[in-house]
Amino acid sequence: MSGAILSTHGLIARYGDFQALYGIDFEIDAGEAVALIGANGAGKSTFLRALMGLLPVAAGMVRMEGTPIGGTATDRMVQMGVAIVPEGRRLFAGMSVEDNLRVAMDQAERLGRKGGWSLQRLHDLFPILKEKARTPVQSLSGGQQQMVSIGRALLCQPKLLLCDEISLGLAPKVIREIYAALPEVRAQGTSIILVEQDVGLAKQASDRLYCLLEGRVTLTGPSAEVTRDAISQAYFGGSHAVV
């Protein structure tokens, strides 16, 4: 855990009486891309929300570079260099593409976060965002909205980027376009936690992966080495496998 930029230790999360996560041990190193796969309702989004301070968790359950930070308020997590592309994109309706992006730039400036991302670089990555700068976000296509959501997270200048199903509901061509941006994000030195239902995509875009089932880790290992069989077993049940 010495090199880990972020780690969890027996992470537990609940919604009222319902327990969604049962002691997750997880870690990600600087510059690493880790995929998180699992069926609907496995707890993937809950895990990201718990990391982001959107659910109450005990301090010691989440560490950033060794320091206990569990339960830190979401805006403080951003200040510490964690940004999220949330499930459902969560853009600011009624505001233009550019204003949505500016909100993140404003806060990065206010919080003194420096990094390589600028509007210019984002426009190079997703040229459509420049073309649609003045368009209200709610009238964009799903793929374009996802690009805004990714752009907004990048402009927080994160060290660690959390992505929650960024391919969901998009056409294959758009998915390729979005995934093609990830190597550039990593080239910036940013670590990525990638929640993804498409196992092929997840393996391809990550160094290591974790599979969740009903709030528990059922499989973990290097993405290139885990087999289809191991994954399908981890997805749907069976014993804990380490490859």
């Binding site: 308020a73 805006d75 951003v78 309706a93 009624g94 404003d106 806060q107 206010r110 919080l111 997270a153």
Partner: protein, 285 residues
Amino acid sequence: MQWFDALVQGVLLGGMYAQYALGMALMFGVMKIVNVSHGDLVILLSLVGISLASSFGLGPFTVMVALVPLALALGWILQKAILNKVVGEDPLPSLIATFGLSLALQNLMLQIWSANSRSLPGGGIESRSIEIGGIYIGLLPVIVLVFAIGLTWGLDLMLKRTRFGRALRAAAADVEAAAMTGIDARKVYASATAIAVGILGFAAVFQSLRSTVAPADGGAQLIYAFEAVIIGGMGSIWGAFAGSMVLGITQAIGFRIDPGFGVLAGHLVFLLVLATRPQGLFGKV
């Protein structure tokens, strides 16, 4: 000519209502708070202003310079100490809190200032008028209207162009997503309420120049602000301004028809809008 005169008087009256309505629209638009104590805050600031004027012999615009920062601070403290603890998806807790605050403020003002009516000496501007094309227009209502336009314009510009304005709109659209970009919602809320109450610092000076004020008068001011905001469309800044104009003009024309009908005409238009266009004349659905 008589109806044109009523129209002019209505627009001028609308200028006063706009100064109440702006802050109310801002608080509702950003936090879904219906601030029931809005009118009582105007009266409180008016009474403080009147006391400042008589204690230190200040003119109305000097009082304004003192009152606006005081109002800003009051709004900020109000949000930090009370409203931040009750703001949320459910508008009921904040409604109850501001209702309680309204009662507490009224009692506090009765204790300090007694039930008597007072007004702010204006050194003559309250009775001066200017003639434009055969119509005599009070100087004070014109100043009130100019301030109302300036405040509306300034607030709208701030929301659209500044870092704080963008953060405010983001928090209004989706407060959790706003936090995901690093926005500290409680801080943004405190500034929003500071501005909403700060505008009442202007309104308080004008209100106590144009008529007398007494501790129990807050309710009437609240109703006019509330009606203007509903007519204009909740949470929209220029909508609140336009709603104030509609309310002012309706009252002035109603008053021409029959002096007892003026205020009632305003209520009727309010009900008509609620019944036919509940999102307000300029509101988004």
